[in-house]
Amino acid sequence: MPASTAKSHFLAGVTQGLPFVFVIAPFGALFGVVGTEAGLDIAQVMAFTVLVIAGAAQFTAVQLMTENAPVILILAAALMVNLRMAMYSAALVPYLGAAPLWQRALVAYLNVDQCYACSAARFEARPDMSVRERVAFFMGVAAPIAPLWYTATWVGATLGATVPDAWALDFALPITFIAMLGPLLRSLPHVAAALVSALVALLLRGLPPGIGLMIAALCALAVGAATEIWLERRA
């Protein structure tokens, strides 16, 4: 396998990853600001971003930390947000399962939504790619995304302490979650799950922090799956 084809696949990946820069930069900066506002120091904010490298879970954890939820519920909620990553992992096995262990570990670390979505689409469309070319493509997609995520978070965290109250940054987090939610509402079962999640969370608002969230999420999972089964039976 000549190195040049791996390189061209890497570059093809970079081309696919670049547009996400416009989402990753504001999102990363926002995490830096929100994390700092919540009381994390810059080392903690950066450790979140570099070690966890999962925006939605990071925002979830920080929100529950500001509400002083029990640690076990903070972890459970944030990891639940990340459960979809196990699905991504399973979906990549047919394409990358034969790669060396260290490459699979690196892919796993970098397997954020955007890297997964681009790679899965490419691997499916081009079944003739070799494992090495697939790894090169995946790394290409991640190449602009991961460093920018770190940098943007650092910029946000550095600015965070200087942002005045008038900017109403308390509401940056809800708007971020709403923005992430939109593209996920792609079928009736998804919409039903989202509605149940919101309603149950509002009803259980009096419970200690984090508990209402877990109960609401479990109800929503059940309703989403049940709606899907009901639609399949009807069809």
Binding site: A77, M80, V81, G97, P174, I178, M180, L184, P189, A216
Partner: protein, 109 residues
């Protein structure tokens, strides 16, 4: 936040390990076995099951106003959701929501 520095670091490291293990799980350890159908069905809904439960109380009872309903924040949430659903664009929803919030705060403030 009243958590100690050590607790915060513990949360960060546990989340880092847990997230990596979720991402590494099948690719690294489980080989080629597919997930059972019921697990795939439930996993698919995890983000839509979690995000609204986080957001809804923050929108209806905003922290900044001590839990009193706030027209500016409610309008920002509605605009962000409408843009997110219709345009499927995270960036457009963020921008529209922020613009609405500032416009409403300026009008009502």
């Amino acid at each position: 936040m009243t958590l100690s520095g050590a607790t915060i670091w513990g949360i960060i490291l546990a989340l880092a390990a847990g997230t990596f293990l979720l991402r590494f799980s099948f690719l690294g350890l489980m080989g080629d076995r597919p997930l059972p159908g019921w697990a795939r069905r439930l996993l698919k809904f995890t983000p839509v099951a979690v995000f609204p439960a986080i957001v809804a109380p923050l929108v209806v009872y905003p922290e900044a106003t001590g839990g009193a309903p706030d027209p500016a924040r409610a309008a920002a949430a509605v605009v962000a959701l409408a843009l997110a659903v219709t345009l499927r664009s995270v960036l457009a929803a963020l921008a529209g929501g922020a613009a609405t919030l500032y416009l409403m705060l300026w009008l009502t403030g």
